[in-house]
């Protein structure tokens, strides 16, 4: 039984799942990078 990425799970579900975790993480990382820049000021 092989993995059938293209024919199985719809792309929108994949995008939604990754956005659900990716957006908050990205926002947090950006905020942390902004705070980290204080080290170089």
């Amino acid at each position: 039984m092989a993995n059938q990425v293209r024919t199985g799970t719809p792309a929108w579900q994949l995008v939604l799942a990754w956005a659900w975790v990716g957006i908050p993480l990205a926002l947090g990382v950006i905020q942390t990078i902004i705070n980290s820049l204080k080290l170089f000021q």
């Binding site: 039984m1 993995n3 059938q4 579900q13 947090g28 204080k38």
Partner: protein, 469 residues
Amino acid sequence: MSLFSFLDRNHTIAKPGFSRWMVPPAALCIHLCIGQAYAFSVFNLPMTKLIGITQSAPNDWNIPELGWIFSIAIFVLGFSAAIFGRWVEEGGPRRAMFTAALCWSIGFFISAFGVYIHNLWVVYFGYGLVGGCGLGIGYISPVSTLIKWFPDRPGMATGMAIMGFGGGAFIASPLSVWLMSKFSTPTHVGVAETFIVMGAIYFVFMMVGAFIVRLPAPGWKPEGYIAPVQASKLITTNDVYVYDALKTPQFWFIWIVLCINVTAGIGVLGQASAMSQEMFPGKITAVAAAGFVGLLSLFNMLGRFFWASTSDYIGRKNTYFCFMVLGFLMYCLVPYTGSIGSVVGFVLCFLVIITMYGGGFATVPAYLKDMFGTRYVGAIHGMLITAWSMAGIFGPVLVNYIREYNITHGVPKAQAYNITMYIMAGLFVIGFIANALIKAVHHRFHMQPEHEAISGQLAVDAAGEPTGA
């Protein structure tokens, strides 16, 4: 009972065509939430002013008392992972994720009540004990599932999830501060309400993970992947039963290696701000030190993905050799960077060290899978997490107490950490030897085919499925 049948292991088996790339986000849903633990310190200061509001009143809690909340949670994390590891493995990922979500959110609600009635023991019980169980169960719940979905890249897969644990603080820290600002009034700090909202948010977020997680169907393998028939030198094709793994020297060598790697990193993470300011007085201000701590957290997260993914190419044992050798060199260099006043050198050394701290956590599930097979890797991982609990005590003790000892014996603050750095470097030598001693597990520990069949049946029974169906 049927109300919760959706949690059963057999209800989480993926239908044909399910994309395995849905599983890392499911794992991240859990790890991003429980990673909040790293950001708990944002509550420390507000919780010292629950009565006094603007400043601490005599009956307010103090920082050392509050520090125990995090310590208890991390201690319980290790031991709940060890105790519930086999249950997590046999009950399936959805049941474990659901339980973790319940414990984690209820832990927040109990803590909110503790804050409301101003009873610290209730907070210890809520966040430390109940929340700590959520941490332990949540931490190991997606590990073996990811390894089963990504047999071709187990390091990368578990690295992605465990990266989430490092990244959880990035979300929790600003969220906590923002919520407290919304709930605070001139007569109220707003911590209890923040706990309630965060508990509710985390429950929803983690349940999304529990709903989308799936186990691969028996016999599934990625397209184009050919499973090795013969075991290579350090990658077994057999399975070892969870309690038999404890009888192998390999388990304890990996335990020592992980404990040393975590000891080296955790002491630094906890004291980074003070250490950087004391080693470079006048050069690193309090604001810059806060930036340094943020940078460490970022590299801690990135190291998890980088090193775990790299281990798929260079092997787990070689990855840990890199940690031990680089760690030794970096810790030997730190006192030198202090003596020549090189802030850049100091920062670079600790950024490398902290990537390896995170990398050690993220690579170890795949190391265990290589040694003991996939069948009980989650449960064995749970047992191994006790190394983290122990390191949580060793690391801060090494850094804090030796610093205190040096300062009371007249050593200047800028040099008070030097001995600790050399002790850490020495620990890496021990870790190097322990890693070098790791060989393939003796075949007498391998599960026999009939035992595999029985354990598989037990797993089905544990999941509440009719055995003859």
